[in-house]
Symmetry: C2
Subunit: 671 residues, 2 copies
């Protein structure tokens, strides 16, 4: 040990420290996420011993580029520095920082101080001249002839005996100092030890409205199995509602062995269709289409037609097999076996899922299995699918997802992966870190004001905002929350408004949602009675209680207001009533404020507090609150204003702030 350390180890000219870089996830182990056109703000603590001036540079590049683009950082005080860059293209970017002692700036600063104190600075000039000349030589060597000439002139000027104050005034301009800093000694640069990554997704990764539906229930004829063609006929309805992602539960052949019947009964009757998540029969598995839905060509037509409506298809990838899936025969080594050699169906003891066999991603010869699973995604990418909702990713190894998603996204950076992992917080965070674009989350169970404020502050303000993008679902085929079961239509409106305004990305499982389907299988469960998971349904879309008009309107409002297309500006405002939650989002001039009555049973009223200054509002002038959901206008004044919400009529306000209110001065004849 002694031997190792009895020589000085550190180059003494590497004196600059760069630390506490943000954003940086787990010491750079994972990338941060952005969408095309967004900014990446980078900050770091940068300092050296002593009192020298520093020059700090943010470097960024697209991953495949070799050249860094430098951006000068600016000091924020307390040795913190900042700069930003825009990620203009899909794919991956890298960024890092370099910094050095800025000898010329230090020299100039000291010169200036000496002059101000009336000292004779002539003995100091040669040092500055030498620095300028060295910078000039470097510029010359790099072919920057013009810059080199200016630096050389500077050096000569400093050596001459002309008037000192005039000289320094010229020098202090940012122009020359910047030039001398730019061409400073590159050997003095200290580079931050890590290159940090940014995954750049398309805008839909941040802003989208999903509609989930079972294609087999799409037939206009009750009792008849729906088809992709029926789904094409349903597209105008989905488009009218304003959704831009249509997400289908698995569309593959369904196993017959141990098929589940109505309401998850253990034995299916002869005509029962089974659960779409029991994937595979003798005709095929994850790359096949359920024959009753149509053909793969029908599916491609659906993709194309949806595209014409501005709707993108999303598929559910559930990596598990029915007992009839071809994998069981062809690759028994991909499944866990009992000592007697029989394959193991899914279990979470004491629960048994005998109609489903999980793939064993940690089996001995796992590579062929991983490669095969990749071809499933590639198959559907070839059919035009670019959005995958992944079922239960938290029961497969993190390393598998990291490998799979990064590989597929290098093929096609438009891909979006949604993680359906309703599990412990750290596991959900890890899945987002290893590559999932969006994440289901605990929103379904966050109902009270305190819960909503705490949870959404965590999601949008803590470090997780850099890598985990929440998508808010008020319901799913597995989740009919008690709030919806008990609250009736007002509850469905409340939760819909929350999902679509708290979250730039949200989705509903319909038509169950817009038709306010709220009956559970049993009390105390979140399963739907007569769940569509096990049977065909026929929905009456024209039911007069349908929320379709509200949904359509909210989705239009979302498209018209940039503030609602991102979660980063989300901010909760104070109200004096525990049942009234209030929050706002801003984007440039556009400001939206939402007030929701969380009580589906009673009228609630109270006072809300607006941060006038942040909204650019004067404390003494009236302003207009335009409820764009109900097309009502309110004149408010000052920070505290009264709100009253009746769950039967107006459970929520979605206000757009209109700063300007007309006065008599606007009247034609006033002047």
């Amino acid at each position: 040990m002694e031997k190792e350390t009895n020589k000085p180890r550190t180059a003494p000219d590497k004196r600059v420290v760069i630390e506490n870089v943000e954003p940086e996830i787990d010491g750079g182990r994972f990338p941060i996420k952005r969408v095309v056109g967004e900014q990446v703000w980078v900050e770091a603590d940068i300092f050296a011993d002593g009192h020298d001036e520093l020059s700090c540079i943010l470097l960024y590049r697209k991953e495949e580029d070799t050249e860094w683009t430098p951006v000068p950082m600016r000091p924020l005080g307390n040795d913190r520095w900042r700069a930003e860059f825009i990620v203009a293209e899909l794919g991956r970017y890298r960024y890092t920082i370099q910094a050095r002692i800025d000898l010329f700036s230090t020299w100039l600063r000291d010169l200036h101080r000496r002059l101000e104190a009336g000292q004779d600075v002539r003995p100091e000039l040669p040092a500055g001249a030498a620095l300028a000349a060295a910078a000039g030589a470097r510029a010359q060597g790099a072919g920057a002839t013009l810059e080199a000439r200016r630096l050389m002139e500077l050096a000569k000027d400093l050596e001459s005996k002309s008037d000192m104050l005039e000289k320094v005034a010229r020098l202090m301009g940012p122009d020359l100092t910047g030039l001398a800093a730019l061409w400073g000694n590159p050997e003095l640069f200290v580079r931050y030890g890590r290159e940090l990554e940014v995954i750049v997704d398309r805008v839909k990764a941040r802003f989208s409205a999903w509609y989930e539906m079972f294609p087999r229930s799409a037939s206009p004829q009750p009792g008849k199995h729906g088809t992709f063609k029926d789904l094409i006929a349903r597209l105008p309805y989905v488009a009218e509602l304003g959704f831009d992602v249509l997400y289908l539960p698995p569309i593959h052949p369904i196993g017959k062995g141990l098929r589940k019947g109505k309401n998850n009964s253990l034995k299916a009757g002869p005509n029962e269709p089974g659960s779409p998540w029991a994937i595979g029969d003798e005709t095929g598995g994850h790359k096949a289409v359920h024959p009753e839905l149509g053909t793969i060509e029908d599916f491609r037509k659906l993709v194309a037609q949806a595209d014409a409506f501005g709707i993108e298809l999303a598929l559910d990838i559930a990596l598990q097999c029915s007992p009839d899936h071809p994998y069981l025969k062809e690759h028994p080594e991909w499944f866990k076996a009992r000592p007697d050699g029989s394959l193991r169906y899914a279990e979470n003891p004491p629960k048994k899922y005998e109609d489903i066999y999980p793939l064993d991603f940690t089996c001995k010869d796992f590579k062929p299995l991983w490669e095969e699973v990749k071809t499933i995604f590639e198959f559907w990418m070839k059919q035009g699918v670019r959005i995958f909702r992944v079922d239960n990713p938290h029961t497969k190894p993190f390393g598998f997802w990291e490998w799979l998603i990064s590989d597929l996204r290098r093929q096609q950076p438009e891909l979006i992966f949604l993680a359906e992992a309703f599990t412990r917080p750290k596991v959900m965070a890890r899945l987002a870190k290893v590559g999932f674009t969006q994440s289901y989350n605990y929103f379904p169970w966050r109902n009270t004001k305190w819960e909503l404020e705490t949870y959404f502050t965590e999601l949008t303000k803590s470090e997780s905002k850099e890598y985990l993008r929440p998508i808010l679902w008020p319901n799913t085929p597995d989740i009919l929350t008690e709030y919806l079961q008990f609250g009736g239509r007002p509850a469905f409106i409340v939760r819909y408004v929350l999902a679509s305004t708290l979250g730039a990305s949200y989705g509903i499982y319909g038509p169950a949602y817009e038709l306010c389907e709220g009956t559970p299988r049993d009390p105390g469960t979140e399963e739907y009675k007569d769940s569509e998971k096990y049977e065909l349904k026929h929905w009456n879309l024209d039911n007069k209680h349908s929320l379709r008009h509200i949904i359509s309107k909210v989705n239009r409002i979302r498209r018209e207001n940039p503030a609602m297309q991102s979660d980063s500006s989300l901010r909760f405002l104070k109200t004096d009533n525990e049942q009234l939650v209030c929050y706002c989002k801003q984007s440039g001039d556009n400001a939206v404020m939402v007030v929701v009555n969380l009580d589906p049973n009673h009228v609630q009223s109270g006072w809300v507090d607006l941060p006038l200054e942040d909204f650019g509002l004067a404390p003494d002038k009236p302003y207009q609150m335009h409820d764009v959901l109900h097309e009502r206008h309110y004149l408010w004044r000052g920070p505290r204003n009264y709100v009253e919400l009746d769950p039967r009529h107006v459970p929520a306000h979605v206000f757009r702030l209109r700063r300007y209110v007309r006065t008599e001065r606007d009247f034609d004849y006033f002047l």
Copy 2:
């Protein structure tokens, strides 16, 4: 790029994630600090995909050992795990974590759940038996014969058809499960990617009371230059005051060239002694002793005599030279030069320090200089010095300190280095990280209640507590704060009590402090009038206003109360008066509470809030507050109690909590 990634990269059996390990400084770049006998608590987020049970192990070892000591970690909930170990010896320790899927525990948990649900578990037994047998074989292979036999018996038992419930009851005992976990498959272990370090200091690094004095002012005869012999005669006084470190400003020859006179005047008169920080003359530099102080033998005698009083010498190492220092002639290459070849004296433009030449630690051939500086420390280590106070370390490269301190401490792990860097927070933190044992800090300028609470909460509760140990100085030869200038004797008592009770380590510059010397050179400066830095002083130690008795008492209280020997338990308590600050420290049974009146001019009173439960006090029983500083006893009851402090008599209470109060039941004849 594509090529690199078209094969699965992760071993699928490495499924466990270990992250957010604490304590860990800057991703493991720097060690944490402890003193001998302290605990290191280690926590981490540890989890895997799916629902398997985990076995998580903290590993630690002394740096020079090859074998790790394993400590099983326990789950705290939310995937957080914890374990701790004790650092028993001086030097360096390392720690890391490993974790694996615990197959046997998972199997057993599932078996238990199946049994509870009334399922037939017989088909599951062979899997458990196989795991037990494999564990047994491993134990056998490692020579753990007894453990191997028990595991083999377990395997056999599981294969037999005996009563199931009885079998499981036996299995569920921690004993057998632990054994199976211990001998689980080592290939499943995932090791945390970093080994983290602990520097282990002696207890004095955490708990010490320093007394700084100028040896040249130690003569009993006014106007005569003090000597080491005079200092030996002063030792009983220092010991009586209760200090255990005696710290001397530089004791080297003082330059004559451009020597500073009284009150920092530019020219010294013929008999003026100069500043001890202008080090070196023709007789020697940093390894020589100022002839008027005595000889190196006298110094060694001083060290030995001090030791007899339980006092350790600390030296000030100021790495700078007077114009007469031999280095200037022998090694001009170690100094910065002007273009005309003359060496550069110290400057902070426009300020000039013409009596001092700084060493240039980044000079071209820096290694010989660094090595030479090391020999300065080694020289004084040979004279018995183990504590160094380093002057202005923030003007030398961090890399230099990291190299120097780690090298010297490997030679002698008892060494203590105190960084005198009154500079920006991040630079101070860095110096602590690179190796300084203790740090000066902003205490002198934290006077109000809010300032004290905020600053000491940061020092004792934020991550910096792991590497930065504050030592509190209410004054130094450079710092006579305005609070002391304006507040008179009460202010000196207040700041003394704060320093010695907020900080397990503190120091004063005396006799200026105990004699309440509060006159500045000019208004608006923190320099002393007629500062000892530039002249000899004669102090009247017997002045009746001296704080010597208070100091002596407080230092005894500190030794008697373990709570005061560490800062980790420091906690502020509420008072309803902004001038009353209240805090407590605890260690086991020992609890100390301090209330200080920050106002040196007026009586202040108010109510203080005690967390009774944390002190083990019943809400309905009286308890005794024993002011150990003034030897007064108070009977209190309940959490809120009244305090009144008069700065002229009792500016502060130092309470020791006495839980037990005598009642009639204790009276001899009661029963």
